[in-house]
């Protein structure tokens, strides 16, 4: 259904189902039974906008925001999860041991039930970058979580009873699961983590009712296992050919080649396509894997029912600097050159905001949003990242001043899109690194990295930035500089306010138009979680955030690492050596509301 007014279309497409409109948006956004003001999926909606139409909290009254209630998760590791709100209940999943709490919103967050999956403790030893979990998902009375030891679990939202639990991976192969599940048309979409352990990346679709596997697609290997068939029509020449997932690797290397799926999945109901990124190839040392290393460090469009790939684009062919391609794909419809286009916005680790046609997979523009010297842009004709030869890792040599660093200009922490301001709010890093490739062995269940890395803050001497980006004008509207990488998610609201958190522990509300900080509150520990906003049974708008520093960036605090070794935590510790002076471990949920 087409809406004549372009402005209205843009505004509507990202609104949640049941928001203040009777007209269905072009992208129906969330499972049908989600009530108004709920937050049922970590990315809020299928389009991954993380935009809430709630407008009680506005840029005028946000300064009065007060703590409504809080809840301790009892786990002091990195809290990256988004709280999920459905059925007047909030569902919070902790890092390992992945406890799922149901908090009753009718009673101010009282504990309703908890579910303990009891993952194998040994799984902690193969979790590359802290033992995080990025959130649960709710659909039709069921809550889905992934556990660190590779189980996907469906839990009854009312009672907390386990409905099904399936094992999808093996920790002895280095696999873990940390992503938030995505639920599309009765299918639970999950993927594995472990690109630093030589795992073979996959994405699976499970029946939401029974947990049986509907399809499984690997991201390396022969076409039959990647689910590449006659429907596969990538836009660029470099992605066409038979069994590229085998022939672009040294013999057998694709079996341990990475390409995991631990980030975000978007869904376009109109095109009936899901979009998911694929992570870095393994090992990091690029000399051990000559070739383009398909289908790692790229993005797939797949049919959600069959898993068959429709198109693919590779952000970083033969990835040189651990630029995982798992970031969020924000689906928006915008006017470009007078034409309404179905677009996919992607702030990527390589340092560029990609604006892509989500029907064909064509890159319309790729503009740097952070300091980049590892590449010299994207060739829009061939679609290839133009490498900077000077920053090419060489075995046994230290290559200095590579920007962005291994976590990329922006890691997993998702951005938000506001259809009102037409800006993409990108929490990101300002990090550069020194890199020394070293020879490494694949030993199943142990790290497969092959690089000594040392990171430090980039130009300007600050570690992070929060940027409002205009994808059409291809430039930033405003930027807030932060001392440390901004490792939290963000949420944009119809009230003209954008929320994010810093690793020191400040939870901030900023004006969506001007970037002015309107309100901030210091929380118990550094913030790397994803803020959400919801309408509680009392009819009020609340904002919730998990505090608890950790993740790759915060591992120095969460795991007590030693900053005297610059290469600790794959080099991140060197950049974060000051963090222990600013925050300590934690794991608390904070919920704010207007008085």
């Amino acid at each position: 259904m087409r809406i004549g007014l372009l402005v209205a279309a843009a505004l509507l497409l990202a609104m949640p189902a049941g928001a203040q409109t009777a007209t269905p948006a072009p992208n129906s956004v969330a499972p049908a039974n989600a009530a108004e003001g709920d937050w049922v999926l970590a990315p809020k909606d299928y389009a991954n906008t993380r935009f809430s139409a709630l407008d009680q909290i506005t840029r005028d009254n946000v300064k009065d925001l007060k703590l409504a209630w809080s809840f301790s998760t009892g786990v002091n590791r990195g809290q990256e999860a988004a709280p999920i709100v459905a059925e007047q209940t909030m569902f919070v999943v902790t890092p390992y041991p992945n406890i799922l709490y149901a908090l009753d919103l009718t009673q101010g967050g009282a504990l309703k039930w908890k579910y303990e999956p009891r993952p194998a403790p040994a799984a902690q030893g193969v979790a590359c970058c802290d033992v995080v979990n990025r959130g649960a998902a709710y659909d039709q009375g069921r809550v889905f979580i992934n556990t660190l030891d590779n189980h996907t679990v469906a839990v009854d939202a009312k009672t907390g009873k386990e409905i099904w639990k399936v094992k999808l991976g093996d920790i002895n192969q280095g696999e873990t699961m940390t992503m938030a599940p995505m639920v599309v048309n009765g299918l639970v979409l999950v993927g594995n983590s472990g690109g630093e352990m030589g795992v073979r990346g996959w994405i699976q679709a499970l029946d939401a009712a029974t947990g049986t596997v509907k399809w499984k697609a690997y991201n390396t290997g022969p076409d039959s296992e990647v689910l590449i068939g006659p429907e596969f029509t990538p836009f660029y020449e470099q992605d066409r050919g038979k069994d590229l997932g085998v022939t672009t690797w040294p013999p057998e290397a694709w079996k341990i080649g990475g390409g995991t799926v631990w980030g975000w999945i978007s869904y376009d109901p109109a095109l009936d396509l899901i979009y998911h990124g694929t992570a870095n190839p393994g090992p990091w040392n690029p000399e051990q894997r000559p070739g383009d290393n398909k289908w790692t460090a790229g993005i797939f469009a797949r049919d959600p029912q069959t898993g068959q790939a429709r198109w693919f684009y590779q952000w970083a062919p033969h990835d040189l600097h651990d630029y995982d391609g798992i970031n969020e794909n924000v689906l928006v419809d915008l006017e470009i050159d007078g034409q309404m286009r179905k677009l996919l916005l992607r702030p990527e680790r390589t340092g560029y905001v990609y604006v892509m046609d989500r029907i064909t997979g064509e890159v319309l523009s790729a503009t740097p949003f952070a300091a980049v010297n590892s590449s010299k842009g994207v060739d829009l004709k061939t679609g290839r990242l133009i490498e900077n030869e000077e920053k090419h890792p060489v075995l046994g040599k230290v290559i200095r001043d590579i920007c962005p660093a291994a976590p990329g200009a922006k890691d997993w922490n998702p951005s938000a899109w506001s259809p009102l301001t037409k800006l993409l709010y990108i929490p990101h890093n300002n990090l550069c690194m020194d890199w020394e490739s070293v020879e490494t062995s694949y030993i199943a269940g142990t790290p497969y990295v092959g690089a000594n890395v040392k990171m430090y803050f980039g130009p300007g001497g600050h570690g992070g930035e929060f940027t409002a980006w205009d994808p059409i004008a291809k430039k930033e509207r405003w930027t807030i500089r932060e001392r440390f990488p901004v490792w939290s998610g963000t949420v944009a609201t119809a009230g003209g306010v954008v929320f994010y958190g810093t690793m020191e522990g400040w939870f901030k509300a900023v004006d969506a138009e001007s970037g002015q900080v309107l309100w901030q509150q210091r929380l118990g520990s550094g913030i790397i979680g994803q803020p959400v906003t919801y309408l509680a049974p009392d009819g009020k708008q609340y904002v919730a955030i998990l505090s608890g520093v950790g993740g790759w960036a915060g591992a120095i605090v969460a795991a007590d690492l030693d900053a005297r070794d610059a290469t600790a935590a794959l080099g991140f510790v060197n950049a974060m050596s000051e963090l222990p002076n600013h925050t300590t471990k934690g794991g608390t949920l904070y919920v704010f509301a207007l008085p």
Binding site: A559, D562, D565
Partner: protein
């Protein structure tokens, strides 16, 4: 002229004396043991994981607090540098980095979850530990496990300085760990800033 000859004579004699006295020292090589005694190397270490013992503690040294006599491996530069090489080759470095930790805990600080004695470290490598440390039993021969264990102790400055290898990576801007105080000062937890050179 005569003074010159005399001076030359003195210098020559002095050099000869120096050579005779100190020359042999330069020929002292580290003992190298390429073929370990299989029985001794495979003997399981006796360790105790805690200081707490019902009744009164048994007499004798407590392995958890560090042995009195350092093992042969941690006094031997060849064994330590082999340990350093194996620490990378066996992918220890992937989790513990060059001592600072990552997926695994740091090894260069003075917190020892499972004991700092070489026997404890040996047991940790061979048996594994429940929260993520894999078991290398049947994967790395005992001789090499001892070498790795000795190197782990060297990262925390617990081995003789003259035998310890220097830090392996070229990225460091700081002094090698072997130049830190050999023993951490007694008395509880020491922040890194107190043990590192200022």
């Amino acid at each position: 002229m005569r003074a010159g000859i005399f001076a030359a004579f003195v210098i020559l004699v002095g050099a000869a004396v120096l050579l005779l006295v100190f020359g042999p020292i330069t020929y002292v090589r580290e003992a190298r043991e390429f073929r370990p005694d299989p029985v001794a190397a495979t003997a399981p270490p006796e360790i105790r994981m805690t200081d707490l013992q019902p009744g009164l503690p048994l007499p004798g040294p407590n392995p958890n607090t560090g042995g009195e006599n350092p093992s042969w491996y941690e006094r031997n530069a060849v064994a330590l540098s082999e340990g350093q090489r194996l620490f990378s080759a066996m992918n220890c470095v992937g989790c513990h980095s060059h001592g600072g930790g990552g997926m695994g805990p740091p090894l260069m600080d003075d917190k020892w979850i499972y004991g700092s004695d070489i026997k404890n470290i040996y047991a940790t490598i061979v048996e594994g530990r429940p929260n993520g440390m894999p078991s290398f039993r049947g994967k790395i021969p005992p001789e090499q496990v001892w070498q790795i264990a000795a190197y782990v102790r060297s990262m925390a400055g617990l081995t003789p300085k003259q035998a310890s290898p220097s830090r392996p990576d070229h990225l460091q801007a700081k002094a090698p760990e072997a130049s830190y105080p050999e023993q951490p000062p007694a008395g509880g937890l020491i922040p890194p800033s107190a043990t590192a050179p200022q």
